[in-house]
């Protein structure tokens, strides 16, 4: 069955799982993002390097082209000889930037028919220059126009051999020348192998040609007319290897691992890659309308800053920490929730138990608002008053009350509402049926933290039955004692009559036996009286009626009674009372019992001799009485039990068959209920002294139903 509780549990578990999945997802995405970002960063760094390489190449080439333009500018103004040529290149500082990279040449245009004249002219022009004295044009071709190299600037020894070389003899170069004539700008040849010209050289490279015109206005003219102004070419040789070498500059990446191949079509111009790694990158560049493919290869060794380098790892670690914290939080939330639920369950159960308990108690329990209107009543309230729940709720307790004098209720309300103190009292109420009943009520004001009244709790106990039981008990005690005494009094009366000779003269032996019967009967009477007294004291029914009492007179009266009643052998009892003892407000009958009992014991348990003395004095706020004898004493081992009911010391029993074992118990009970204390000192064979105190303030009056017998 799906309960609300289970549904909640399921919902919570579902939310927990979904949240966990979301967190994992977010962590994964963060990790991916960081990884991709880093990959991008690597790629960017890589591309930056790559573009750096390409820039370098382009810059290099641009410089060369710029130089060519520069030279064209120079040559279009005047004819220069090798001397001027060398001076120009020295001053241009080309070697400072690109040592050994480029070779420059001036190529003249010569008609085959004018070749000899041309050679002669060169020789004359360069008559101071030894190199030109053997100047000739090679190789021999059938071309109508020849393109011999007239001036040369180079540090390459192979190139240095090319004075007079007819560049028109090389297909690749003549193509470039033809192209440059067509555009009027620089044109690059296809890859040219120097071997074809100089068999000893294995160099490959490119020739860049630039036409030189006699007038700067040539560029505005159509091709046909422009070519008529063409005077010569300048060209540059660039070694393929050199053009693409030393291109990588230091950057963010570990460039030692960055290699590249340069391909012209399918021909490898520069070989850089030893081993193809996973990171490959191909870039196409265009140099003077010539396409080159650059194939880059580099490992992942590119260095990023430490944090950036390890960011994916950190992301994972942070993710794991976040996850762990989430689970920890989740678990602690669930645990504390579970605990809270348990506590709430316990509290709810406790509340239920409490409510059930209140509902179930036999006492009438009500809760009212501060005005006394009932807001809760338990079952006993209905049972006792006879009104139903519905009849009670919303009403005031006067529904079943109102039987007492108005002053009683006034006092009650004052205590609970004004003094805000609990009220206890006994009162008479009326059931719905009209019957009166006696109740014990306990009203408690319930205050909030500020001390304002919020409720009254009233507990009422129907004591009608208890009261009648009490009465029955008291009556029972009276009747039982009456019934027990009646036969005893018959025995006593007839016994005494017999002894008095009312039924004729008795023999000595008959008299002796009769006396034993009478004595035994007397003991029985005493026992019944003691039992009666004890049950009265214990039931709390004994009345204490204090009167202004002269203790000395009281003691003297007791002493004379004792001397007579115990007077088989008349004993002298000394009485010593401190002077100035005031009248004491005590119940003389009760105190009489105390002295009577103690003195009777003293006489009974003394031998023929020995002193018996009563001493009374004041000590502090107390009257202290001392009853001393020199009798048999109380055995040390039995002293602790002397005030117990029915206890009689072994030596006492041996000596006196009389005695109920109730006397001292009764004495102790009277003294203590009068606010005093009793104790004794005794040594077996030496005598006993009893002490007891009474407060000088006297005894408090107590209404009871019986007195002592």
């Amino acid at each position: 069955m799906i309960t609300e509780d289970n549904r909640n549990k399921f919902r919570r578990a579902f939310l927990g799982v979904v949240t966990s999945v979301l967190i994992v997802l977010v962590i994964f995405l963060a990790w991916r993002y960081v990884s991709i970002t880093e990959e991008e960063q690597r790629n960017k760094a890589y591309e930056k390097e790559v573009s750096g390489v390409i820039d370098n190449i382009e810059t290099r080439l641009a410089f060369m082209v710029e130089t060519l333009y520069h030279v064209r500018g120079l040559l279009s103004l005047e004819e220069i000889d090798s001397q001027r040529w060398r001076e120009y290149f020295l001053s241009a500082g080309i070697e400072d930037r690109y040592p050994d990279y480029f070779s420059f040449a001036q190529v003249d245009i010569v008609e085959r028919s004018d070749l000899d004249k041309y050679i002669e002219a060169v020789k004359i022009e360069e008559k101071g220059n030894q190199e030109y004295q053997s100047f000739f044009v090679f190789p021999k071709t059938d071309n109508e126009q020849l393109y011999p190299i007239r001036l040369l600037h180079t540090f390459d020894s192979d190139i240095g051999l090319l004075y007079g070389y007819d560049v028109g003899s090389s297909a690749s170069v003549s193509d470039a020348v033809a192209e440059s004539m067509r555009t009027g700008g620089p044109s690059i040849s296809s890859l040219t192998n120097l071997k074809l010209i100089i068999p000893s050289s294995d160099k490959t490279g490119y020739v860049i040609a630039l036409p030189v015109y006699s007038s700067s206005s040539a560029f505005e003219l159509p091709l046909e007319q422009r070519n008529r102004l063409l005077t010569k070419f300048i060209g540059a040789w660039v070694d393929g290897d050199k053009l693409f070498s030393d291109m990588v500059i230091a950057g963010d990446i570990d460039n030692t691992s960055l290699d590249f191949d340069v391909l012209d079509g399918e021909v490898v111009v520069k070989k850089g890659i030893d081993e193809v790694t996973e990171r490959n990158y191909e870039k196409e560049i265009r140099l003077l309308n010539r396409k080159f493919r650059i194939l880059f290869s580099g490992s992942e060794k590119m260095k990023l800053p430490f944090l950036q380098e390890n960011l994916p790892l950190f992301t994972i670690i942070i993710g794991v920490i976040v996850m762990a914290m989430w689970y920890w939080t989740l678990i602690s939330i669930l645990t504390s929730r579970k605990r809270a639920e348990e506590l709430a369950n316990i509290a709810t159960k406790d509340l239920k138990k409490f409510k059930m308990a209140v509902e179930g108690v036999s006492d009438h329990v009500i809760i009212t608002d501060p005005e006394g209107v009932v807001i809760f009543a338990n079952k006993a309230a209905s049972r006792i008053t006879g009104y139903s729940d519905k009849e009670i709720l919303g009403q005031k307790p006067s529904l079943w009350g109102g039987q007492m004098p108005v002053s009683f209720y006034k006092k009650m309300w004052k205590v609970i509402k004004v003094d805000k103190k609990p009220f206890y009292g006994q009162l008479t109420n009326r059931r719905k049926s009209g019957d009166l009943y006696e109740a014990e009520v306990n009203l408690s004001p319930i205050l909030n933290d500020k001390g304002d009244l919020i409720y009254f709790v009233g507990i009422e106990r129907d004591i009608t039955r208890a009261k009648s039981l009490d009465r029955m008990k008291t009556e029972f005690i009276s009747l039982a004692s009456h019934q027990l005494r009646t036969p005893l009094s018959a025995v006593k009366w007839f016994g005494r009559m017999l002894l008095a000779g009312d039924a004729g003269k008795l023999t000595t032996l008959q008299k002796e036996y009769l006396r034993k019967i009478i004595t035994s009967n007397e003991r029985e009477i005493q026992l019944v009286n003691s039992l009666l007294n004890i049950s009265r004291i214990e039931s709390g029914k004994i009345a204490i009626v204090p009167k202004q009492t002269n203790i000395e007179d009281l003691i003297k009266s007791v002493v004379s009674d004792v001397e007579i009643s115990e007077g088989k052998k008349i004993r002298k009892i000394e009485v010593s009372v401190e002077e100035g003892i005031p009248l004491l407000n005590v119940d003389p009958d009760l105190i009489r019992h105390v002295y009577m009992n103690l003195l009777t014991n003293s006489i009974r348990y003394s031998g023929d001799g020995g002193l018996i003395k009563v001493t009374v004095g004041i000590k502090g706020s107390k009257l202290i009485s001392e009853v001393k004898d020199e009798g048999i004493g109380i055995p040390a081992g039995e002293q602790g039990r002397i005030f117990e009911r029915f206890f009689r010391a072994a030596n006492a029993m041996k000596r006196e068959t009389e005695g109920t074992g109730l006397g001292l118990y009764l004495v102790k009970t009277i003294v203590e209920s009068s606010g005093g204390r009793i104790w004794f000192k005794s040594k077996e064979g030496k005598g006993t002294t009893f002490y007891f105190t009474l407060p000088l303030t006297g005894m408090k009056e107590k209404k009871g139903e019986v007195t002592l017998t």
Partner: protein, 122 residues
């Protein structure tokens, strides 16, 4: 002869009374309160010996109260001889002339007391 009304339900005690007093007084015994009260009003004894715990509708206290209400019995001594504890104060308040516990006395003492009471009346 002095008339003594004894209202007592215990046969043994009544026998003791009889033995002790039959030669001195004119005795009449009643064993319950109602009859006792009736005898008191009709027979008009010189002294009533009254027990308290009595069978029937009226107990000794009721009888005592009724006797004290009768004008002609107003001065008749009522000697309560009982075994019911705590009776003394109450019966004296209700108008008894004397009260004693049966177990505290013997018949000689009761006889003495009766003589004394009768002497006081006359």
């Amino acid at each position: 002869m002095t008339k003594l009304l004894i209202i007592e339900d215990d046969a043994l005690l009544n026998e003791a009374y009889k033995k002790k007093f039959e030669e001195i007084y004119e005795l009449r015994f009643e064993t319950d309160g109602e009859k006792g009260l009736k005898a008191a009003t009709t027979w008009e004894p010189d002294l009533v010996l009254l027990d308290i715990f009595l069978p029937g509708r009226l107990n000794g206290l009721d009888v005592l109260q009724q006797i004290r209400k009768e004008v002609k019995l107003a001065k008749t001594p009522v000697f309560v001889v009982t075994n019911l504890p705590d009776a003394e104060d109450r019966v004296m308040q209700l108008g008894a002339t004397k009260c004693c516990m049966k177990t505290d006395v013997d018949l000689n003492k009761v006889a003495e007391d009766i003589e004394h009471l009768l002497a006081n009346v006359s």
